[in-house]
Every structure is written in C-alpha cells, then in structure tokens.
Symmetry: C2
Subunit: 394 residues, 2 copies
C-alpha cells in the first residue's frame, strides 16, 4: 500500500486531485460546532461529466447509498443520471427529486416483498436478483418485470474486495435466467461488482473475462440478454494516484467492448467514484495523550469516529487523508480514535497516521474526500453524539 | 464457547433466564412493519433491584450509552439510580428525566471543552480523566471539580476485551493525581473497566488485584482517595449460563472488600448487565438462498443488520439467540446477513447459526436479549432503511 499522505501542500502526494477543493476552502474559512460534512454540488457535476465522457453510451445509475443527500440527487436528475436504489426509502427519495421511474433500478438483491410491490406501483420495471426465492417474490409483486442476475466474481485487486454476500457462481446463472422466464419475468441481463475502490482500470480485465464467458453462454442458451450492468468500483482519491475519471472509464469501456461486442444497453453504478471527492469533513481534536512517557505513539482522539461517520475505517479499509493547520511542523505517528466511550471506536492503530507533534485539543482537522459512505453510516446518536452534520454548497 | 441456542422451548439452553419474557411475548403477539426493539421497563426495574441487592452499598450509575431510551432513564431516576454520561447529549437527557446532578458523572475520558463547561454549569462535579491535557481542560472549564483517573487494565477473560483506548498504565496514575491537585482539582478516586460481558465474577480477581495495588500506592503517597469506580462488565445472557445478578454482584463486592477494605464510596456502571435482557428485537427473513446446489450453508438475509441495530456482531463479538416459529423443524447451518447493499453487512459467517431448514422469506424472527447497544448504534438511514424502531412496555 501507499505511504500516508498529509498536508495541504501535498508533500508526497500524487498529482490528482490538485488544489484544495471548494469544500476544503469552505472548511478552512468557517468554524463548526460539531463534525460537519461539506459537499460541493458543482464538484459532483464535474465528476459526473468526466465519468460520462469516458463511459460513452453506458448510462450512469448513481448508487444512492453512497450519499443520499437530496440535493445531490436533484442535481444528478438535472444531468440525466439514472439511479440504483437499495430500498423503498431510496426509491421514494429519487422520485421525490424528479427522477423518472424508467431511470431507476431496484438494485438490492435482498428486497422486502412489500417494497417490490411499492416499486412496481411506482412504475419501476428493472430489478436485481441472485436467488430463486427472490425471483419468486418479484414475479408475485412486480409481474412481468425485467430482471438482471447478479454474478459472483472475486476480485483480489480491489482495495475493498467484496464478500460472497451478493451474487451467484457462474453455473447458477442460466438456471436462474430460466427460472425468471418460467415465472413470467423478462430475463434482461447480468450484473456484477468488480469490488469497491478498484484503483486501476486493468484490474477489471479478469473479472470481465469471467462475466463475458457467462454472458455468451447465456446468449448461446437462447437468452436474448440486453443489459450489462457493470456495477460500481470506480475509485476515489485517498492518497494513492488514480487515473483521471474519463481515462479510467474509457479504458473500462474498451475492456468491455473487447469482450462483449455489441451490447444493447450498458449501465454503470458509480457511488464512491462520483461523490467521494466532492466532500470533506470538518472535525476537531478532542485530546492528545501518551499512555506512558516512553511511548512512541501518541493517541489522538477526534470528535468523529466509527459510529458518527467514519464507518469505513472498520478494519482500516479506507485510509482517509488528514489536514491540519500545523502541517508545517515536525510530524510523528499517532493512533487515531473516535470520541465515543467504545473501545472499538479506534480508527487507525495497525498503521498509525502521521500528524504534527504540536497537535492539541481544539485544533481543527480536515478529512479529505469524504463525500461517500460517511453521513449515511452515522448512528442516530450513539453516546449522545448527534449524527454528522451536512452543509451543501449549491 | 457455547453451542448455539435457539428455540422458544429453550432446548439446549441453560436455566437463566427462564421463560419467554414480556417483550418476547409481545413480539409473538404482534406484527411489525420494520425491525423493532421491544423494551420492558419492569424487566429493567427487576434487574436494577437484583443488581443493587448484590452490590450493597455500591451505587449504580447506569451507563446511558447502552440504551438512551428516555423512559428507561425516567424509571431508573425513580429507583434512585445514578448515571454515567458520555457526552453533553446524555447529560441533557438524564437531567431532562429528573436526575440530580449529584447523581451524574461525566465518565468519558475524551470530552469537548465546551461540554465540560456545560456540565459544570449544570451542577455536575465528578469527571473522568486519563491524560494531563484532559485534566487541564477540566481545570479550565470546571474549576475545583472532583476527578477520578482511569487505570488501564487488560482482562483476557472478558468476552469483549477492551482495547488500550481508555486509561493509563499503573505508573502514570500517581503523576496524574498530582497533576490534578496542582491544577486545583480534587483527586477523588480511581476507575477501571474489567471488560464488557465479563461472564463470571471470579474473572474480576486479577484486575482487582492490579487496581488495588495502585489504590494503596496512591493512598501511601498521600492521596486521600474516596471513590472506587468499578465500571461495567456485568454480563447479560446470550446463551451461556451466567450467575443470577445478585449473586454475581455480591461476589464482586466480596472480591473488592478483600482487596480494598473500607472504601468511602463505590460506584458501578452497568449498562449491558442492566438493560440487555429487558429487550428483544422483532425482525423478518428477507431471503433464504443457497449459492450453489451443493452448498452446505444457506444464506439467510434478515431485515436488520450491522448498520441498523446489530453493530455488536462486528467480528462476531456478541452472539445473539434467534427464535423462529419453525423451531420444531430440523435445523441446519446458515450464514446470517443484513439487508443492506454492503458486502460488510454479514452478521455471522465464521461461526454459522443453526436455523430451521424450512425457514423462508417473510418469516418472523425474534432476537433475544437485545436491550443494550442496539437502537443507539443504528445508522440514521444507511441504504434508505429507517433506524431501528422502539416500542416501550411501561
């Protein structure tokens, strides 16, 4: 893995992204009474345009779970985006912001029967599935719907490889397509997920090989598949260089064209890759302490932790970048922890974070590229701390 | 560890607790549109009386973070309980329910300076600390306050041993007591935490030995300590037999008397041990699936997961007991997962759960003894799922 990157100056930092963003400038210029996520809608729009420029004819379905802020959805509706919804709540959200039902897919393979019925009533006609029982539920509550089968693929190259929770092995796909047809559903296509934060486009190749083999086998078996849903995996910048989103998306599309040829409809579901870099979190140091006089590591306690927005630090999976006003000073290793009375609320311990030796309680800390998977993970009030506040720059 | 326990009949289950509780009977008799925690206030009261009967002169300070339901706090105020608060939010909560400031300690060792000032204004005079910088903050914002120093002790016998996040090693305690005195604070006592879910009273012995050594050394050094805060660790029943709370608490008090002699004031901070058994969760099966025809394990997806109330399944730390209406049928091993589109939202995989082979989507599942550390951990709406609903039986 990469070295830890800190400092507004970008010392040791790769080129992309360049200068402090508008969200970061806003944080630098304001005081905050509690941890606050600042989101820049224009940055979301720029990223959408950059991704779609590379994706060409593939249609973006934003993975709403990454950040369900209504104004993000509203902006994306205006830009012509589609939406990947995980629940009735997310469907209601995107429809309330003006999304057309034709642009919404119900992408969770685990759906409550009454939520399927709700989606069907609302005009949504595209559903994910990876099990016979799920197809039976869809057939019962959304008769005649189009379904795509999620394929289980392992991608050891992703920063956050997925578990086996979603999808079926290759040899189960054709039986499921047949089951869908037998239940009066339209076996419309396949989906997969290459793994969250797949940092380089070439890492898609092995997965695409395996999906293409299933795709062609299904077509050979008489299933007239129209839709290839390539899921998410589009990366955000967390300190390791990544390609420009247009180049990355174009390279993925080239890999797809090589393997799939002329597919009628391609969908991509960026979440993190669309909104992570559009947000930054304003946080504060609560306490700096050494457990003993000869400890090499300080303990630094922030006012935000695993249960108030930084859930993706579980297993130290996502390594955020921290910026302080003292970043010119000499640095030293820190164990970083959250504010709750919970011993599990430690953010980085196996791989400490380098922070200024002069850091003290009350100091402002900015956490970069936090627009995805932060505010929505926050607990309703664990330890009496309110959820992450959100400020939207329109 | 113990065998998995399922079934209302209590087959294979140890004796304690006995029959289905009032919360469980309520769940059996009602339908729920979404995951719901049912809390029985009378069960909280019974447990409070059972614990205090064993604790004798030690005063209970309920660890509010375990379950901040206002009606639990209200009932405990009426019973004469004190409160261990983690934040300004929890202080406001307990005061709003009638707690006297003298019965509230600000027990988080990581406090926002403005929250210390708020607590001081509200009349709270007892604060925890484990670092010089924290003592400086308390001296500045709550001048003259009583402080207790948290000692870091390892207890490998707890089901959930704590990290090194809280407390200082033994050799740092006297310097911190001296630092407190030099800052005009009252060095009032010591605290420690034996580890969450310490299932048997004898497991306290080693920890108490170490704390007592520090306690006596501090008194020999001229610190007139009054308060021994023994923290939490009182267990709840999750399938492995535990002692009756009165016997457990009395045994711990005996261990304390042997080692500390005549301590002026003893505080205990049960959270889980006070409220866990007073609640049960009503959940529903969303989907049952096999990933392939020859899989031994089914995947069972519930409508509640890591991000909507069952956060303590992280690392499979707490093993809940599941009850279904089909528990008479033959059983088989299942991987249990939550409803979100998040591959990390898997509850039990390393050690599968035994559930009826006939289990199907739509079945009601009751999760026993969920009164602690569930509702407050729930996310504000990850994946568009609402937070855990709460029903209180008064």
């Amino acid at each position: 893995m990469n070295a830890i990157v800190t400092g507004l100056s970008g010392r040791n930092a790769p080129i992309h992204p360049a200068a402090p963003s508008r969200a970061e400038a806003y944080i630098a210029a304001h005081d905050f009474a509690r941890p606050t996520l600042v989101l820049d809608l224009d940055a979301v729009e720029r990223q959408f345009r950059a991704l779609t420029a590379g994706l060409g004819r593939a249609h973006v379905h934003y993975a709403v779970k990454a950040n369900p802020e209504p104004r993000i959805v509203e902006r994306l509706v205006a830009l012509g985006s589609g939406f990947d919804a995980a629940s009735r709540g997310e469907i209601e959200l995107v429809l309330s912001q003006g999304a057309h039902p034709d642009h919404v897919s119900f992408g969770n393979t685990v759906k409550r029967a009454s939520d399927i019925a709700f989606a069907h009533q609302a005009g949504i006609t595209l559903f994910a599935a990876d099990a016979e029982e799920e197809l039976d539920k869809i057939a019962a509550h959304a008769p005649g719907a189009r379904v795509y089968i999620r394929l289980l693929v392992d991608n050891p190259d992703a920063d956050w490889p997925l578990s086996r929770k979603f999808g079926v092995p290759a040899d189960r796909v054709i039986p499921l397509l047949a089951h869908a047809r037998a239940r009066g559903l339209v076996p419309h296509g396949l989906s997969f997920h290459v793994g969250s934060q797949t940092r380089e486009a070439w890492m898609w190749a092995g997965t695409l090989d395996r999906v293409a083999a299933v795709w062609h086998a299904a077509r050979d078996a008489g299933f007239d598949l129209h839709l290839l849903n390539v899921g998410g995996g589009f990366p955000a910048f967390y300190g390791t260089a990544i390609d420009h989103p247009t180049a990355y998306a174009a390279a993925v599309m080239d890999l797809i064209a090589d393997r799939f040829g002329d597919v009628a409809q391609i969908m991509a579901e960026p979440g993190r890759g669309l909104v992570a870099e559009a947000g930054a979190i304003a946080a504060e140091v609560m306490l700096v302490a050494r457990k003993s006089d000869d400890d090499l590591h300080r303990w630094v306690y922030l006012d935000i932790g695993k249960f108030s927005g930084l859930a993706e630090t579980i297993d130290e999976a996502i390594r955020y970048q921290f910026v302080t006003l003292r970043d010119g000073a000499p640095m030293g290793p820190c164990i970083l922890a959250g504010p709750s009375c919970d011993s599990a609320d430690v953010l980085y311990e196996k791989r400490p974070v380098s922070l200024p030796l002069t850091l003290a309680a009350g100091d402002k800390v900015m956490i970069r590229n936090c627009g995805a998977y932060t505010s929505s993970y926050a607990s309703i009030g664990f330890n009496g701390f309110p959820p992450l506040d959100v400020v939207v720059l329109g």
